[in-house]
Symmetry: C2
Subunit: 249 residues, 2 copies
């Protein structure tokens, strides 16, 4: 029985208001569901799935306390945010947030300043995970980490990072190596790999504001050779991680 009440409850988590109120979030599709099931760090509360999906995964769920709702395609579509829902939707508890101690005890962190596009944030998380960077700081006006599009486009990498919201001025006392990506900085290949730092990414359209730029240890640019106005922020982040984090010899 997939009641109207349960349906309404689950659907509410497409909105940030309810995600925040109940500290939960939605993840969809068999690939992400598989990754969450095998992760130690993410607690599943509800599973809405087809009977086929349930049969192949009941073993993995047997030792966990999960409310399982077996539904048909139409019922799944009624709670899904995807155009074409795929066999399973999970409702999970939000994971522990990133703390200042985590930042102090890790070599690298990212700081995303007023990042708006959830697809870009998801891709940034996936890219950070590729380079082994676990700490993602968001400014208060950035898009929400648990936005389903962020979860979807991070391709499971959201499970391996810690995310927290920070005002830049709270970080000042930490005396970190802040490296901003800006349009008028030192060519990034001239700075070269660093031992540790915080890579600061600006908003896609407005960039970083002047006050913030003045607090940076370094300001670097990816030199343009063509005529494009800007790089996509996730692409710029990838180039920065590749150049700055460096590789074991």
């Amino acid at each position: 029985m997939f009641s109207h009440q349960v349906r309404k409850y689950i659907r509410s988590f497409h909105l940030q208001k309810y995600r925040q109120k109940y500290n939960k979030f939605i993840a969809e599709g068999p690939k992400i569901a598989g990754e969450i099931l095998s992760s130690e760090d993410c607690k599943i509360v509800d599973v809405v799935c087809t009977s086929d999906w349930f049969e192949t995964h009941r073993q993995d769920m047997s030792h966990k306390h999960i409310n399982v709702h077996i539904v048909n395609e139409k019922e799944l579509k009624s709670v899904s945010g995807l155009k074409t829902p795929h066999s399973v939707l999970l409702l999970c508890e939000q994971m522990p947030v990133l703390r200042k101690e985590d930042i102090m005890s890790s070599a690298w962190s990212l700081y995303c300043c007023d990042l708006q596009d959830p697809g870009n944030l998801g891709t940034i998380i996936r890219t950070a995970d590729w380079f082994g960077v676990k700490n993602i700081m968001l400014s208060p006006h950035s898009c929400n980490f648990y936005n389903p599009k962020v979860i979807q486009s991070s391709m499971g990498s959201f499970l391996r990072v810690r995310v927290g919201t920070f005002v830049m001025s709270d970080l000042d006392p930490l005396k970190l190596n802040f490296i901003a990506l800006a349009l008028d900085g030192l060519p990034i290949h001239n700075l070269g790999p660093q031992d540790a730092g915080v890579i600061v990414l600006g908003n896609e359209s407005s960039g970083l504001d002047k006050d913030l730029l003045q607090k940076m240890t370094h300001r670097v640019s990816i030199p343009a050779r063509g005529q494009a106005e800007s790089l996509n922020v996730a692409v710029a982040c990838g180039i920065a991680l590749d150049r700055l984090v460096g590789y074991p010899a």
Copy 2:
């Protein structure tokens, strides 16, 4: 008068079938429209716009042969592919295609093998433009260059590249420096900047096939330090361009 017939005609170009048949494509929004208006290389056939947009741009259009349709918001929405249409939609003629001669006379080209996601292709075009790479080759099963989502996410860069469809075996006789991005290649920073070449990008989920990999001059990888399964293809393309194309000293 915005007749049903005109509406139907314009709307048909959201489909590849009609784009191909009439050699035209759609571009939307004031930013892209502005770039197309000031470009020499892209011929506008029809403009569907609000009266406000028309008033501020009539000068720019006065010396061109353009059919102008002044419409209200609702009529604009009826031909738009965007959730929130913005004041203007253009119907343009497709631009000249990339030829083998262009490839032979340029240092760098990209080859996208079975790339499916139009947003990724648009971001790749924008990134290529940033690094001054003008030649984009697509394999026959890649998504279509004139897909409105490609045009939209290329942020105007589509105007500054040349695109053509090529079967890889047609390129064999050209004896180019083919550099494939693969998961098991030489670390990309060990290869270093090259004088010229074709950067070959694989499909997001299946990568590049074995036969194709054997034709490559180099096979390079972006070494993973974390646990992500893969990088987004546009991010990987950005890192490759940054490492391989190099910068003037």
